[in-house]
């Protein structure tokens, strides 16, 4: 499928804070999961969302999938605000589907695969007969590489990889255009992981999906994504075409992430030993003033504590949020 530069989905100015009470007197504080995030998903692309725990990548995925309302901002599907008037708009609900890390918690253990798939088939097309539902469910199973025999089994009778296939089958039963895949292979064994990734890419081609692929595995990002957005403490700190991000990273955090990833699975990445991992990410309840990465950044200067820098265009589609980009992007300028 050809990737157009047309956004099928636009994230505009999204903010999500989760209230937490701290201490006996319960002074209200907030986990600042997402802070003014903007993002476009182009039709037909795989956009990887990468970040560590607390970066907000999962929260963003849930908001896009219609599972969590943002405090502020808009999610536009082909120009339609999906949360208009508070609720998730019915007409677009099925267009965006999500698959999560752990199929055990997303598949009802008391239902047979037939009922799990049947439920969503019927919600899409009410009034189908049992035979018709069965027929569609079997087609779906075959589409995700399972066989007819699986249809009257319970989730626990399947392996982890097979359960994830069922979760994918349920998502595509809604005939979505956008799939949010949140760490879908993280819980799987290496040998099964590749099977599921290949399935995902086959379905993308067959069904013309646009995919938001949430992961922390830079190897997978390299393998399948067209563009990457790197998140840190509720902000996108760098975004751009995958090759560009891997070969000419600009943000110090991206460099640290690439340096920390085992070489066997990220051999193509640019590894700069000056960006060896150090420090711990601060709590999203109390993010540092100024640039959020300041506490771990090896090249921070005084000015960095003033404000979190905006995303700045480095080259073409490649943007980074670092005031020192003229220094950090040196390699980039030389290469081009």
């Amino acid at each position: 499928m050809v990737i157009t530069m047309e956004a099928i989905l636009s994230v505009r100015n999204i903010r999500k804070y989760f209230p937490v009470s701290i201490g006996f007197l319960g002074s209200k504080k907030y986990v600042r999961a997402l802070d003014d995030v903007d993002l476009d998903l182009y039709e037909g692309e795989v956009l990887a969302l990468v970040g560590e725990s607390g970066s907000g990548k999962t929260t963003l995925g849930r908001i896009i999938a219609g599972l969590l309302r943002p405090d502020q901002g808009k999610i536009l599907y082909r120009g339609i605000d999906i949360y208009e008037k508070g609720g998730f708009k019915k007409e677009v609900r099925h267009k965006i589907q999500a698959v999560f890390q752990n199929p055990d918690s997303s598949l009802n253990p008391r239902l047979q695969i037939f009922d799990i798939l049947g439920e969503s088939i019927l919600s899409r097309e009410p009034g189908l007969s049992r035979e018709e539902v069965l027929d569609r469910a079997i087609k779906l199973l075959k589409l995700v590489g399972l066989v007819e025999d699986h249809i009257f089994k319970y989730p626990h009778e399947l392996s982890g990889g097979e359960r994830q296939r069922v979760a994918i089958a349920r998502a595509i039963s809604m005939e979505p255009e956008i799939l949010v895949a949140d760490e879908i292979v993280t819980a799987l064994d290496v040998s099964v992981r590749a099977q599921i990734m290949n399935l995902l890419m086959d379905l993308k081609e067959k069904l013309g999906l646009s995919i938001i692929f949430i992961t922390h595995d830079m190897g997978l990002v390299w393998s399948i994504s067209d563009r990457v957005a790197i998140m840190y403490l509720g902000k996108i700190v760098e975004i751009g075409p995958t090759e560009s991000i891997f070969k000419s990273p600009v943000h110090p955090y991206t460099k640290m992430l690439l340096y920390s990833s085992p070489t066997a699975s990220s051999a193509e990445a640019y590894k700069d030993p000056n960006y060896k991992a150090r420090g711990e990410p601060p709590s999203p309840i109390d993010p540092p003033k100024g640039c959020r990465f300041i506490t771990r950044c090896p090249i921070a200067v005084d000015k960095c504590s003033k404000e979190h820098p905006p995303l700045t265009r480095i080259f073409g589609e490649h943007m980074a949020a670092c005031i020192r980009y003229t220094d950090t992007a040196k390699g980039y300028m030389l290469q081009k």
Binding site: E52, S53, S159, G161, D189, V190, S191, V192, R193, A194, Q195, M197, N198, M201, H216, M218, G219, L220, W222, S223, I224, T242, E243, M256, L257, Y259, S260, S261, P262, T263, A264, S265, S266, A267, E268, K276, A277, R278, E280, P281, S283
Partner: protein, 326 residues
């Protein structure tokens, strides 16, 4: 090189109502002084059962059916629980995946580390707090004087893992068994913890058994690697050898699945991990092996030594059949 641990023909079975799970089935290997020995395997490979056995923490329904675990010449399997307790935490210590599970939420972390000294040297834990400060400094916990008074919930996951590491190195053990010590951590924190373990090995001369499902990580930190599959040793070799010239078809397949090429299909291993209650006959990998021969479903391959490397596969040694190219 001095051997500190010698495991021979170890078999550990779990006796469950559904049947007998042969979790570790005839495993042999040695650990040398000061090395990082990596054990890689997927779920059900037996790697964690092995960790528990070496740490003396196996409990029913697990049972050692045969074999020996020689630690500095003593057979750990013949010691009583009192003798084991003296070794555990002092000469052999452990680090596990989820540090939160191993820290008591109602005591300060400093006091919990001090308890290691208390257990082995007596007296009150409090008097060892200054030693804990030194340990915290060693594992690079910032502001250690203050942090010894912190409770687990006041620390991040990476920090808690550092506390557990400080506990593990408190008595300068000869052997540290680390079972998925970084799997619950973010990749930058993982890199920091791995570097810390490497430093500790250099400074204290302890040997480290590093168990993980992440072969890519092991290739970077381990001196030698043992690849396990369904309770058996597939192959043992130096990390560079495993990376450049894997012998066992399973190792080859694992490495291929790690090699991510831009916009190419990932190399997958067909099928799934077998049940350990009724594993396939012969070589346990043969149903998924692209090089499988007749003999593979009939007999279990012996481990053979090829120039110091161990491999359990009929493609090598006397049974070499066909024109298999390495």
């Amino acid at each position: 090189m001095e051997k500190i641990l010698e495991i021979s023909d170890l078999r550990i079975y779990y006796y469950l109502p559904q049947g007998i799970i042969k979790a570790v089935d005839g495993v042999s290997f040695d650990i040398y002084k000061g090395e990082i020995f990596g054990i890689a395997g997927e779920s059900g490979s037996g790697k964690s059962t092995l960790a528990l056995a070496i740490s003396g923490l196996l409990r029913p329904p697990a049972k050692v059916v045969s074999g020996r675990i020689l630690f500095m010449g003593r057979d750990l399997l013949s010691l009583d629980s009192e003798e084991l307790r003296k070794i555990r935490g002092k000469e052999i210590s452990m680090i596990f995946q989820d540090p939160s599970t191993y820290l008591n939420p109602v005591y300060t972390t400093g006091l919990q580390v001090a308890e290691v000294f208390e257990a082995h040297r007596g007296g009150s834990a409090r008097k060892y707090l200054s030693m804990v400060v030194k340990l915290f400094r060693m594992v690079k916990i910032a502001d250690p004087e203050r942090r010894v008074n912190a409770y687990p919930h006041q620390m991040s996951g990476g920090m808690k893992q550092r506390v557990l590491i400080s506990m593990a190195i408190a008595e300068r053990p000869k052997l540290i068994v680390a079972d998925e010590p970084t799997s619950a951590l973010d990749v930058t924190i993982q890199a920091e913890i791995v570097e810390l373990l490497n430093e500790i090995r250099r400074e204290t001369g302890s040997s480290i058994i590093f168990i993980t499902h992440d072969l890519a990580l092991l290739l970077e930190i381990a001196d030698r690697i043992m690849i396990m599959y369904a309770g058996k040793v597939a192959e043992i070799g130096r990390a560079e050898e495993i990376a450049k010239d894997p012998l066992h078809p399973y190792t080859k397949a694992l490495l291929a699945s790690l090699r991510y090429e831009r916009k190419k299909r990932l190399q997958s291993i067909p099928g799934s991990i077998p049940s350990l209650i009724s594993p396939p006959p012969g070589c346990r990998f043969h149903p998924r092996c692209q090089y499988a021969m007749d003999i593979c479903s009939k007999r279990d391959p012996d481990s053979i030594n090829i120039n110091g490397r161990i491999v359990s596969c009929f493609l090598y040694g006397d049974h070499h059949g066909g024109d298999f190219k390495r």
